[in-house]
Amino acid sequence: MTRYILRRLLQAVPLLLIITALLFILTGSLGDPLAAFGGERRRLQPEDRARLERQLGLDKPMVEQYLIWLVGNDWMKVDLNGDGILDSYGTRKGVVRGDFGNSFQEKRPAIEVIGERIGNTLLLMVASEIIVIILALLVGTYSALHQYSFWDNFITTLSFIGYSMPIFWLALMLIYIFGVNFQRWGLPALPTVGMYDLGIGPTVGQVLLHMILPLTALSVVSLASYSRYVRSQMLEVIHQDYIRTAYAKGLPEQMVLRGHALKNAALPLVTIVGLDMPLLLGGTVVTEAIFGWPGMGRLFYKASNAGDIPVTMGILLIIAVLVVVFQLITDIVYTYFDPRIRYE
């Protein structure tokens, strides 16, 4: 197993190089990062544009820009003042030494910009994932065990509605019902924006209160699909011979379900959750934007729109690394659920 893990980690290095190179080229093609400097109401003077292109390294070929992003330029001389003479050493250390560069928009280290958002996104996404997994297991299992009953049909209908609902529509409806109209009707309204009330501050209660609506929006759609998945897996498993044998041996239902049925039905779910884990960090653009949640999704959307290459590449690199790592973790977790699986 150790050799397997080491081999996978070594294979990840060239894989990540290829991924980052492709992403860098794609990101660089998104548009002109200097086009929106100053916003709608101000344009860069030609001299300023030329200077900023030089200072940000945007005047260099794409390959050179990628290499500087990767390994830095503090080991080579650059033309700082545009006189054509290479007179100063660069200041970039490169990603391999932990320097993701400075955000073009916020003019500070990209890793700092990203780091501020990770916690906010994980808070929302992990909470949503936990709620969805627990509820999906409960709802899916109940549905499978009471196939074609009234409640199964009811849950199935709700799942299809939930799955079909566009999340932006759901988010806006939640805001208008529980935020705007509740207040109009004299009912206690739920907060619709931000992580806490600015006048009160970031208390646990405030953050939990502000999480209600975005969590609901996130969970409804995912719960619908996960619960259907669990239901179909359970239906397949509970009709297997070993389940019938377990019942015949006189085991209580709870033990049969938890110890035998769920463990086997959960194996494909582990794959889905494992694939979802790195994407949790990407956040969700729509929900974060609508609810004003300062997370990674919103940051990624804003940065990629503005051509902020350091931030965009930083986020993509982190996600790429997490995909590789979680793929490996998923493979390892398989061996727990299915002892027949072994790696050389």
Partner: protein, 574 residues
């Protein structure tokens, strides 16, 4: 059973106890005797101290993130709102063009000797008694330091203009006097030197940072803004979420009325509107016409508007090398202007909150009062197109010499009202036989540079639109329409993406931008506007003022289109 009975008995006893407790005699009020007791003097107690007044708090919404506290690095409108709360300019300018002195004692002029007769030397006297929030005085050294940092190659500042073009030297003659020497006369110096988005930064805080790091690019102060001279001090900046400002006791006008000002950042206008309607914020910015009915329905908001020198206008590619031949004909351009019912668009899409501009310098002192907006006259439009040789085809689209009058309309999409407006243009132009191919795009793609094969600099379009105006409002200057600003391989950074090259315009502009006498300059700009109007080089669609929604629980809230939050120090709660 026994357990159940015990609970019942216990409950009865509790209820009885509560009921009986009300039957006892009330304790005597202070000064009164208990029954059967001689009266006693009430004990003297100090009156309860008055509760401190609740701190006054106001929350303002912005629909984009201010990127930095340091004005050297960004000049977006949103960042400007932050600067105005934290950092003082030499003077603020309201939208009537009135100067309000801040750091400067008075506006230097030739009359008061502050500006030399040739316009090349400016003596700036700073106001005494202005201090930073840590008590250090604001001096001429701070002004000179700011200039030095802007000009230093080690700082990746947003723009050095106009300092790099016009300033020869800047020195501190004494702590209250700055001496500026210009390399050439610059008529707009008063609206661009350390005003609006250009502000003075604290030397005593940032010089040590520059000495240590060799740059201010990563200075903590750029995010913390913890030493300022404006009406507020920045307490917290959470990117894409909020900023918190505390009143600055050391502000030279005195502590502002509002103790704490919050700025809440929204990703889009829908979220801001919902927050306004639910009372989570007190002031909303960049309100559009479609939001006004929903706000008025709450009866909780006043809608305020500030002209800012910006209009939404259609620009056209008339470069003979790249343009559709139809666009090079001023009669075709005039026909398009006459075919669009702009008042209908303003009334139906924007709920009537804007007006139709006549010129690029709409409602400013530079605006030519003799010019009226192009009327809506589709009959005249058709006549002009017929006279220009564009005859109506069987498919309803005009053609000439076998070529259809089909035009590409590129614009920045994403805003529903803009999208609706453009589709309306398409229909109105179709009614006179012009087919419009709509091509929506993002800012970064639409405004990509010549070097990045940008659509606009390379003339791969026929019409486009955005909100634009005087970049250095209230200064009228713009380089958009000059022949020399057409982009090319030799000059890829030129901004004249429209191919306009009019020798009459060039002659007047060359005079206007060096004219120091304001009235003469106004006359020059009237001539410029007449030429542009006659040639229909642009089609102004609507005004684009700053529109704010202000809670009726606030008072004394006013704005300026030049310096939006310049009056924040006087805002108050009712």
């Amino acid at each position: 059973m026994l357990r159940k009975c015990s609970w019942i008995v216990l409950s009865v006893l509790v209820v009885a106890g509560v009921a009986l407790s009300g039957c006892g005699s009330k304790p005597p009020a202070p000064g009164q005797a208990a029954p059967g007791q001689p009266p006693t003097l009430a004990p003297t107690t100090a009156p309860e101290p008055a509760k401190p007044a609740e701190p006054k708090q106001v929350t303002l919404g912005l629909t984009s993130n201010p990127e930095s506290v340091n004005p050297m690095y960004t000049s977006t409108w949103y960042s400007q709102c932050v600067y105005e709360l934290l950092l003082l300019p030499l003077w603020n300018i309201d939208d009537q063009g009135q100067y309000q002195m801040e750091l400067a004692q008075e506006l230097p002029t030739t009359a008061n000797g502050g500006v030399s007769a040739d316009g090349l030397n400016i003596t700036l006297k700073l106001r005494k008694g202005v201090v930073w929030s840590d008590g250090e005085p604001v001096t001429a050294d701070d002004v000179v330091f700011t200039y030095d940092m802007i000009m230093d190659d080690k700082n990746g500042v947003f723009s050095r203009y106009p300092f790099d073009t016009y300033v020869k030297s800047m020195t501190a003659a004494d702590p209250q006097t700055v001496q500026i020497q210009l390399s050439s006369a610059y008529a707009d110096w008063a609206t661009s030197f350390f005003v609006k988005t250009s502000r003075v930064i604290p030397k005593h805080i940032l010089q040590p940072v520059f000495d240590k790091d060799g740059t201010l690019d990563n200075a903590d102060w750029n995010r913390t803004g913890d030493v300022t001279d404006g009406p507020y001090v920045l307490k917290e900046f959470v990117s894409d979420d909020h900023l918190t400002f505390d009143a600055n006791d050391k502000y030279w006008r005195g502590r502002p009325n509002i103790d704490t000002l919050f700025i809440r950042i929204f990703a889009d206008r829908q979220s801001q509107l919902a927050a306004l309607q639910s009372g989570q914020i007190d002031i909303g910015s960049y309100i559009v016409g479609s939001e006004i009915p929903a706000l008025k329905e709450t009866n909780k908001f006043d809608i305020l508007s500030s002209p800012n020198g910006y209009i939404v206008t259609i620009f056209m590619n008339i470069d003979p090398k790249t343009a559709n031949p139809a666009m090079t004909d001023p009669n075709v351009r005039r026909a398009m202007a006459l075919a669009i019912d702009r008042q209908l668009i303003i009334d139906k899409i924007y709920n009537g909150i804007y007006h139709i501009p006549a010129t690029y310098w709409d409602k400013t002192i530079w605006d030519n009062p003799a010019l009226q907006p192009y009327p809506y006259d589709p009959t005249q439009a058709k006549a002009l197109l017929d006279a220009a040789g564009w005859k109506l085809g069987s498919d309803g689209v005009r053609e000439k010499n076998g070529k259809k009058l089909e035009l590409r309309y590129v614009y920045i999409s994403g805003d529903e009202t803009t999208d609706t407006m453009v589709v309306t243009f398409q229909q109105m132009l179709a009614d006179v036989g012009i087919k419009l191919d709509i091509m929506p795009n993002t800012e970064e793609v639409l405004w990509a540079s010549y070097s990045d094969n940008g659509q606009l600099p390379h003339g791969n379009y026929d019409l486009t639109q955005w909100s634009d105006g005087m970049w250095y409002f209230p200064s009228p200057s713009t380089s958009y329409f000059l022949c020399s600003e057409r982009p090319s391989n030799d000059y890829p950074t030129g901004y004249n993406w429209f191919g306009i090259c009019d020798q009459n315009l060039e002659k007047v502009w060359a005079v206007a931008d060096t004219e120091l006498d304001q009235q003469k300059r106004i006359d020059d700009y009237h001539q410029i506007e007449q030429i542009m109007y006659d040639q229909t080089y642009i089609i102004p669609i609507r005004s684009d003022p700053d529109v704010w929604a202000v809670s009726t629980s606030l008072k004394d809230v006013t704005f300026s289109g030049v310096d939006p939050l310049m009056f924040a120090y006087q805002w108050d709660v009712k």
